[in-house]
Amino acid sequence: METFLIVAGVFLLILVFMYNTLISKKNQVDTIFAGLDAVLKKRYDLLPNLIASVKEYMAHESITLEKITELRTKALMGELKNSERIALDKQLSSMLGNLMVAVENYPVLKANENFLHLQGSLNELEEQISAARRAYNQSVNDYNNAIEMFPTNMMANFMHLERKEIFSIPSRERQNVDVKNLFQK
C-alpha cells in the first residue's frame, strides 16, 4: 500500500510539474506578445503625426499613405487574433519601409526637423519591434517544443493546447542597422 502511495505521489508530482511547465510557457508567450503589442501601439500612435508631416511634400505617394492609414485603422479597430495582428504588422512594416525609401526623392522633406525627429523615433521603434518579435519567436518555439515533445505532449493534448505561429523575421532586420546612413543623408 505504501509503495502504491509513493508511486501515486510521484506520478501526481510529475503531472503537476508538466501542467505548470506548459502553463508557464503559454503565459510567457502571452506576456511577450503583450510587450510586442505595446511597442506596436506606440508605432500606431506615431503614424498620424508622420503622415501629417509628410502628406504635403509627398503628393505622389498618396496611395502608400492611404494604405498605411487604412492598416492602422484596421489594427486599432478591435479584437484581432494574434495571427491577424502578425500579418497586419508585416504589411505595415513593408509599407513603412517603402515610404522611407520614397523619402529619398524629397530633399525638402529630408531636411525638415519635425520629420527627422519622427523618422528617428520610428527607427527606434522598429528596433524595439524587431527585438519583441525575436523574443516572441523564442517563447513560441519553447512553447511549441513543449507541446510536441514527449511526455508533455500528452498533457498538452489533454489541455487542448495548439501550436502557435511564429513571425518570419525579414532579412533586412538581421542586418546591421546603419544609423549613419539613416540620419546623415
Binding site: 523615433s121 527607427n123 527585438a131 519583441a132 523574443a135 519567436n137 523564442q138 546591421n176 544609423v179
Partner: protein, 322 residues
C-alpha cells in the same frame, strides 16, 4: 584620426626615447641594487645560520629556516620598495604619455580606479568580496562616448579545512564602462558559457534555474549562444540591446582577444570585464624599456581598449541618446 604603429614609432623616437633612456638607467640601477642586496643578504643569512648552529640555540633545520627566511623577507622589502618607485616612474613616462598620444583628451591617474559602486552596479560578479584594488584609471570621451576603464583586482577571503586564510581572486583584469548607444531600463548580463560547454544539455538546464541572475535569455545567434550565456530582467529589452549586429561583433571581439569576456548592460551603460592573469600596465623589471616591442605591446593593449567604442559602434547613437 586613429594613431598607427608607424606614427607611434615616430613619437617613440622623438618624444619618448630621451625619457626612456633615463628610465632604463634607473632600471639598471635597481637591478644592480637588487643584486647587491641579494648577495649581501645571502651572506648575512649564511653567517647567521653558522652563528645560530654554533651557539646550539636552534637545531640546524630551524636555524636554516630562521636565517634564510629573514634574509628572504628583507630582500622582498627592498624589492618592493625599489619596484614601487620604478613602477610609478614607468607609468608616468610610458603609460600616461602613450594614452595622451592615442587621445590627448583622455585623463589618466595611476593610483585611482573606477568606484566600487560601478563594479557593484554592473552585476557582473555577484559574489561578495573582501578586497577591491584598482589602478590606472583612464577617463574621458572617445568619439563622443563617455568612457572609464582601469585595471582591477577583486578578491575574497577564504578559509581551508585547516582554518588557514588565503585570498581568492573573483576578478582580475580590465574593467571598462561606457555609455551605450541605446536607452534602456532593464538589466542584461552576458557571461562566458562554462556550464553548457562542459555539461551540454544538463548545463543548459542548470543555467535556466540560476535564480540569482534572473531569467535566462535564449538568443537566436548560434555562435553567440555557444560562447555566452545571457540573463536578463526583460526578454524584449535584452534582445533590443543584443541585436544580431552587436552579437556578431561580440563574437568577433571574443575570438580576437581570446580571454574570458563578461558584459553587462545596466542603466543605459555597457560594462565590460576582460579577465587577465597579470596587472595590465606594470613593467617587467627584467626587460629593457628601450625595446620597442615592449612599448608596442602596451600600445596595442591601449588601442584595443579605446577601440571598443568603435568596435561595438557605441559612437553611433540612436535618436533618443543624441
Amino acid at each position: 584620426m586613429k594613431p598607427s604603429l608607424s606614427s607611434l614609432l615616430d613619437y617613440y623616437y622623438e618624444s619618448m626615447y630621451p625619457l626612456l633612456k633615463a628610465l632604463e638607467e634607473k632600471r639598471l640601477g635597481i637591478i644592480a641594487t637588487l643584486k647587491k642586496a641579494a648577495l649581501t643578504l645571502f651572506c648575512g643569512a649564511a653567517f647567521l645560520f653558522v652563528f645560530l648552529t654554533h651557539t646550539n640555540l636552534f637545531i640546524p633545520l630551524h636555524a636554516f629556516l630562521l636565517s634564510f627566511m629573514s634574509g628572504f623577507l628583507m630582500f622582498m622589502f627592498v624589492y618592493r620598495h625599489e619596484r614601487a618607485g620604478y613602477d610609478a616612474l614607468f607609468k608616468d613616462i610610458v603609460i600616461e604619455k602613450m594614452i595622451h598620444f592615442i587621445d590627448s583628451s583622455l585623463l589618466y591617474s595611476k593610483v585611482n580606479s573606477i568606484p566600487e559602486h560601478a563594479f557593484k552596479q554592473s552585476e557582473l560578479f555577484v559574489e561578495s568580496y573582501d578586497r577591491f584594488v584598482g589602478s590606472d584609471l583612464v577617463r574621458g570621451t572617445i568619439d563622443g562616448v563617455d568612457v572609464h576603464f582601469c585595471d582591477l583586482h577583486v578578491e575574497k577571503k577564504v578559509r581551508d579545512n585547516d582554518d588557514k586564510e588565503s585570498w581568492e581572486t573573483i576578478f582580475q583584469g580590465l574593467f571598462f564602462v561606457a555609455d551605450f548607444n541605446k536607452s534602456f531600463y532593464a538589466k542584461t548580463v552576458v557571461l562566458p558559457d562554462v556550464a553548457e560547454r562542459n555539461f551540454g544539455v544538463l548545463g543548459s538546464w542548470m543555467q535556466g534555474i540560476n535564480r540569482q541572475r534572473g531569467a535566462l535569455v535564449k538568443l537566436d545567434h548560434v555562435e553567440f549562444e555557444k560562447v555566452f550565456v545571457v540573463y536578463g530582467s526583460d526578454q524584449i529589452e535584452s534582445r533590443y540591446i543584443l541585436s544580431h549586429a552587436l552579437m556578431e561583433k561580440i563574437v568577433q571581439f571574443q575570438k580576437k582577444i581570446e580571454k574570458p569576456l563578461y558584459l553587462s548592460f545596466v542603466d543605459s551603460k555597457i560594462y565590460l570585464a576582460l579577465h587577465y592573469t597579470k596587472p595590465l600596465f606594470e613593467p617587467i623589471l627584467t626587460r629593457s624599456v628601450l625595446e620597442f616591442n615592449g612599448i608596442r605591446e602596451y600600445f596595442e593593449l591601449l588601442m584595443m581598449i579605446t577601440g571598443i567604442v568603435t568596435e561595438f559602434k557605441l559612437n553611433e547613437k540612436l535618436w533618443s541618446k543624441r
